[in-house]
């Protein structure tokens, strides 16, 4: 069995509505251990040595983030659980929220204890509204059990913007403002929500906390590769026989996930990490899934040979242009200009200079944009240009031919 179920161990086995079922499966043991046997500093140190990195996509070391927030002297600190799973093709957090909400609540309780937060938010995306009642029930039951005495957890629902999954826009959204990226520094661990030290962790990151505390950081360090420890949830979709959520140890080859587990055939390319994720062509299908190579949020979309590369790139760019918050120039105008160029290529009106223009534009967006959306928006374009340059050049040749027919050379 290649799957390694640590986060998914309860999913489908326990009743997500009943805390007793969770407690019977070692539930809240980690919380008790953290609370009675460890000081907050020891909890932070334990997470730091475990090598756990953020599971939302950026892969920032979780322990370091906590340490920064722990060091800050403030009257109030906040913890935010990022459940705004807006990434295209990502549905791993939904799986956890739906089937094992108590693991998340336990993780939140431990994290809040470690950094000294009195208030926690679960920022739930608008489309996951139907999970809100289940989550509320889990919070209430945990409180009745006496595990949330010093912590107030609020479920804050989003309003349907992709950008609000980005941490600074997410905080703006909670503050009641228009969700837009903020410039950094200051970083959230020093000045976040309402200017107070704030930790923002993904659902999956927080769900990783109880097993690490319970089994120790050394146990966690044994799983994975040098820079990527532990397991990761992958949500596989696209041209596969068995789409769904799979859990693999980090460093597992992509082939194992999409071919052996999900049953993909005749692969052309795989996008790992959602709309702004990297592209892996079929020839590199054995690439290990790890932070060192390609990972992102764990959304894996498989494209088979029937898919057209440029149509895919155009659709992705259309999505990103639509979802750009409109604050910074490179992203607001850049995604639009990129769409204009790729749109012309798809409709057969490309020019020789277009490839150079795409490369220059991508470089600017990557270097100057305010947040991850603009910085990563050109990754699918650059990656397809790298591996499928022929598709682009063919389109340009066809465009030249079409123009010659119209006498517009």
């Amino acid at each position: 069995m290649p799957e390694k179920r640590i986060l998914l161990k309860n999913c489908g086995i326990i009743d997500p509505r009943d805390i007793n079922a969770y407690v019977a499966h070692d539930g809240f043991k980690a919380w008790e251990k953290a609370r009675h046997a460890l000081t907050p500093d020891e909890v932070v140190a334990e997470i730091d040595t475990s090598g756990l990195r953020g599971r939302g996509g950026a892969g920032f070391p979780c322990g370091l983030k906590w340490k920064l927030a722990r060091q800050e002297a403030a009257d109030e600190k906040f913890l935010i659980c990022n459940a705004d799973e807006g990434e295209v093709g990502a549905f791993k957090d939904r799986h956890l929220l739906q089937h094992d909400p108590f693991s998340l609540i336990e993780g939140i309780a431990i994290a809040a204890y470690a950094i000294g937060a009195q208030k926690a938010y679960i920022y739930l995306r608008a489309e996951y509204h139907y999970l809100s009642a289940g989550l509320k029930n889990a919070i209430d039951q945990t409180r009745q059990k006496g595990c949330l005495e010093e912590l107030n957890i609020t479920i804050q629902e989003g309003a349907g913007a992709y950008i609000c999954g980005e941490e600074s826009a997410l905080m703006d959204s909670i503050e009641g403002k228009r969700g837009e990226a903020r410039f950094r520094p200051p970083f959230p661990p020093s000045q976040g929500l309402w200017g107070k030290p704030t930790i923002i962790n993904n659902v999956e990151t927080l769900a990783n906390i109880p097993p690490i505390i319970l089994n120790g950081s050394q146990w966690f360090r044994e799983i994975g590769t040098a820079q990527s420890k532990g397991t990761k949830l992958f949500s596989v979709s696209g041209d596969v026989a068995k789409p769904g959520v799979y859990e693999l140890a980090l460093g597992s080859p992509l082939k194992e996930l999409v071919v052996d587990l999900a049953g993909a055939q005749d692969i052309k390319m795989v996008q790992v990490g959602g709309a702004t994720g990297g592209i892996i062509p079929a020839s590199m299908i054995t690439t290990p899934l790890a932070y060192e190579t390609v990972l992102g949020s764990g959304a894996v979309t498989v494209f088979d040979a029937s898919r057209e590369v440029l149509d895919f790139v155009y659709r992705t760019m259309e999505f990103l242009a639509e979802e750009s918050c409109g604050k910074c120039t490179p992203c607001r105008e850049g995604t639009e200009a990129m769409m204009e160029i790729i749109g012309r290529l798809t409709t057969g009106d490309g020019k020789q200079e277009d490839i150079q223009a795409i490369e220059d534009l991508s470089q600017t967006m990557m270097l100057s944009s305010l947040c991850g959306l603009g910085q990563a928006a050109s990754i699918p374009v650059l990656d397809t240009l790298k591996y499928f340059r022929n598709d682009y050049e063919n389109r340009i040749r066809q465009s030249v031919f079409l123009r010659s027919l119209r006498g517009q050379l």
């Binding site: 607001r332 995604t335 204009e340 223009a357 600017t364 100057s368």
Partner: protein, 217 residues
């Protein structure tokens, strides 16, 4: 307040703690172009024209909002910075539809001046459709030609922070973003009186004083 030492374009600069890179650079007369920055307003960092290269950083940093930290090594005119800055201005020009685009001599538009200064050359980027909004003359004190707007948000900042009025806001997303009044309503005398402070801060002439009938402005 303690001092921080930074190196900008090879020059040693001693700045106060809390100063931005832009302010530190201006101490030694190193000019970094800006569009959305004004010393009177809280920085917004949206135009990305003032980007500089900080040694060791993954991306470029906005000089108008990044605080100078001790030991920073900053390049304000490296090839990376200039390429990015030029492309950003080109992008803004591509979506900008003022008189300045055709009439080089108007000398009114800060964006046009910057584009000339950076010698971007012939535009490489186009927009699917340029911004085009009807001119709004509902208000006797402010004439709004939002086609010229480059969304620098200085009008919002000036209205909010100096006039304390909160008349303007941003609506819509991405390329369709627009500086609006309420729910994209006309700027009537109901919401805006005659302070006109936004006009002084507009870099492109999107906001201007209405021409008086029969007279020269």
């Amino acid at each position: 307040m303690s001092d921080v030492k930074v190196r900008i374009d090879g020059r040693e600069v001693t700045a106060h703690e809390g100063m931005t890179i832009l302010e530190a650079a201006r101490l030694v007369d190193i000019e970094i172009p800006t569009l959305c920055h004004s010393p009177d307003l809280i920085p917004s960092g949206n135009c990305r024209v003032c980007v500089v290269e900080i040694e060791g950083a993954r991306t470029l940093a906005g000089a108008c909002h990044t605080p100078a930290a001790d030991g920073m090594v900053i390049q304000t005119r490296s090839p990376k910075v200039l390429t990015s800055r030029r492309a950003t201005v080109e992008l803004l020009m591509a979506g900008h539809t003022g008189e300045c685009v055709t009439d080089v001599h108007t000398d009114q538009c800060d964006l046009r001046k910057l584009a000339d200064h950076l010698e971007g050359g012939a535009p490489r980027f186009l927009m699917r459709k340029p911004r085009w909004y009807p001119i709004e003359e509902a208000n006797p004190y402010v004439r709004r030609d939002m086609s010229k707007c480059i969304l620098c948000r200085k009008c919002i900042g000036a209205c909010q922070e100096i006039a304390k009025k909160n008349v303007y806001g941003i609506a819509y997303r991405g390329f369709a973003s627009k500086v609006v009044v309420d729910f994209d309503d006309p700027l009537t005398t109901e919401v805006c009186r005659d302070c006109g402070i936004c006009i002084d801060y507009c870099p492109t002439g999107a906001l201007s004083k209405p021409a008086k009938r029969g007279g020269v402005q």
